[in-house]
């Protein structure tokens, strides 16, 4: 009894300190970049925005950033640029300058000397200005929306096998900078999922000694409990309209997929199997992909949000799970011959590519444009984050100086 009281007191205390942001910068290590991408040269921009843009473009696996030493005589921004003179080195040249706290960025094609100028307004997070510039450049050249000005949520764990273990839920920029802890708990925190407006996170927390799904505003910290039914309350996933949360509940026996209305709490049941049904992901406004072992091993299935018959999506390998969907691409965990890797495929066709090469890779999450996948892998015995381009040509690791970093969740496009 006394123990329970102490426990409750310390929980309250934990929740109190959890509102204080604990900073733990992740260390970025670039494993590989594309050497046959679109060649682009980034001139120096006062204040260093070019370095942030370079990191972004490299991460996409679609660009090869030309070494600074290859071109030393680029005229300063404002002076005339005869871009054609560099067409044998780069397809594009980027110049720019800080302007009113924001950035003015010029993109020039070396094939026709065509110029596009972007004005990015100031932001309280200075790095976001550079990410937004990178998004403009990316979209102009690839004709696909850029997703560098986005965020990651992830979970860290320190002292995981001792009684001092501590779980924290973080939000950072998509490149791992500016991390901020929004929750800490001595009991597991898992499965963060972004609302479509990128302002709220749903997650699973065992902080009250049973599993429960919460929704928390990442700016105000305001938090509410969505489901704390008997048994499992797991794997929350927001509907594209932001009004519903798909989840896995075992309140009626084996874990099944349910949909809860976020506004009025109304619950509808989607699956009714006696097997494990979990890890739902929305594949449209009214359909879900989820993991089920109803066929004897975990595989991906698709079902209408209103229930009914299922369509099996994966047949290759003994373990396919944890689907994430963006821009009609499906990323998932594929287990084969004892190794677990991240696979990607089109939502509507069956051929898949393997994107990772670790032994125990998991928790894939696509950038909103589907061009990059963040996932969890092992480095030196600890969980660490990796980001790989969908063509597998670029890979980066985001490693914590202490403990494990895992379960990345890539935000939708930011609205704030």
């Amino acid at each position: 009894m006394t123990n329970t009281l102490i426990y409750k007191f310390s929980l309250t205390f934990l929740l109190f300190i959890s509102s204080v942001s604990a900073m733990a910068e992740l260390e970025l290590r670039i494993s590989k970049t594309s050497d046959d991408g679109i060649p682009i040269y980034l001139a120096n921009i006062a204040g260093g925005a070019n370095g942030i843009i370079e990191g972004d473009l490299k991460r996409s696996g679609r660009f090869t950033v030309i070494d600074r030493s290859k071109i030393t005589n680029i005229p300063a921004y404002g002076s005339t640029l005869n871009a054609g003179a560099y067409s044998n080195i780069a397809d594009y040249i980027v110049r720019g300058k800080p302007l009113n706290g924001g950035l003015e960025v010029e993109l020039t094609s070396t094939s026709d000397n065509a110029k596009t100028i972007y004005n990015i307004s100031s932001n309280s997070n200075n790095r976001r200005v550079a990410h937004q510039a990178a998004d403009k450049i990316y979209e102009k050249i690839t004709r696909e929306r850029g997703a560098f000005d986005t965020r990651l949520a992830y979970v860290t764990v320190t002292n995981k096998t001792s009684d001092n273990r501590m779980f924290r839920l973080y939000v950072s920029d998509a490149d791992g900078h500016r991390p901020k802890a929004i929750l800490s708990s001595r009991l597991p925190v898992m499965s963060p999922a972004w609302s479509p407006d990128a302002k709220q996170l749903a997650y699973v927390s065992f902080e009250e000694n049973t599993s429960a799904i919460y929704v928390q505003n990442i700016f105000t910290g305001q938090k509410r409990k969505i489901s704390a039914r008997d048994g499992i309350n797991g794997a929350p996933a927001w509907s594209p309209d932001g009004n519903r949360l798909a989840m896995s509940l075992s309140v009626n026996g084996s874990p099944d997929i349910y949909i809860a209305n976020v506004n009025n709490g109304q619950l509808t049941r989607v699956t009714t199997s006696s097997a494990i049904d979990t890890e739902p992901s929305w594949s449209g406004t009214n359909s879900l992909v989820f993991t089920s072992n109803r066929g004897g091993s975990p595989q991906l299935y698709r079902i209408a949000a209103s229930g009914g018959t299922v369509q099996r999506l994966t047949f290759d390998g003994k373990y396919n799970s944890a689907a994430d969907i963006a821009n009609k691409k499906l990323a998932y965990v594929r287990g084969n011959r004892g190794a677990f890797n991240i696979a990607i495929r089109s939502l509507n066709s069956s051929g898949a590519d393997t994107l990772s090469n670790g032994q125990l890779d998991e928790s894939p999450t696509l950038s909103p444009n589907g061009a990059m996948v963040a996932y969890t892998t092992l480095k030196n015995g600890d969980n660490t984050l990796a980001v790989v381009s969908d063509n597998a040509k670029a890979r980066q690791f985001l490693t914590s100086p202490v403990g494990d970093v895992r379960e990345p969740a890539w935000s939708p496009y930011l609205t704030q």
Binding site: K160, T161, M190, S250, I276
Partner: protein, 209 residues
């Protein structure tokens, strides 16, 4: 540990299993293996013998000596049914009593109870039946392989398997709560077969003991 002791203990365990099988559907899969060719491994060599699945899906036999630890995949010496005569609250804190053993281990991606744990589970069930106010929590865990929410479901299924067998022995349903922690709270850190088998478990926790 004498070979004969193991043999007689196994005989009793297996007959308990057969009796209980009639009242529980959760143990129909007691071979507990992914691999059709992998029969339950029961050995009378010296030392405890553990049936495990290697990361490549092949079956392996690891003895506790090779394991280099005191980890008993089989309950071990305390599994002698003579130690279970004293089914009382005092037995919970008596290290020679089977009631002091509170961990049940599982095969990879399985929630089926291995036959060697039936005596242990039934002994705890009898204690609950004897003390109707006594409450227990079964905390299920998984190893790190596979996806995290699937592992939460798997670990809850493990604690549910234990609960179903216990309830068949007489305690009331509301004396036993279950929870699945997935792979979130490992006992050991390693990323290998030895560590994985220690992390795939259900821990029996009594509310006030």
């Amino acid at each position: 540990m004498k070979t004969t002791t193991i043999r007689s203990a196994l005989t009793i365990m297996l007959s308990t299993l057969l009796l209980t099988a009639c009242s529980s559907q959760n143990i129909k899969d007691t071979a507990g293996s992914d691999n059709d060719s992998n029969k339950p491994i029961i050995s009378s060599n010296s030392g405890t013998t553990n049936g495990t699945l290697g990361s490549d899906g092949t079956s392996k036999v690891i003895t506790s000596e090779q394991d280099g630890t005191n980890f008993n995949y089989l309950p071990g010496a305390n599994n002698d049914p003579n130690n279970t005569q004293d089914i009382s609250l005092a037995g919970l804190s008596d290290s020679s009593n089977l009631l002091s053993q509170r961990v049940i281990y599982f095969d990879y991606d399985k929630a089926a109870i291995r036959p060697e744990y039936m005596v242990l589970i039934n002994t705890h069930a009898k204690l609950l039946a004897k003390y109707p106010n006594l409450k227990m929590r079964l905390e299920g865990h998984a190893d790190e392989r596979g996806s995290r929410e699937y592992n939460v479901a798997l670990s809850e299924a493990r604690s549910q398997s234990v609960k179903n067998i216990m309830v068949a022995q007489g305690p009331s349903d509301n004396q036993i709560r279950t929870i699945g922690f997935g792979e979130e709270i490992p006992i050991v850190r390693g990323h290998n077969t030895k560590s994985w088998q220690k992390n795939r478990r259900v821990e029996i926790k009594y509310d006030d003991y």
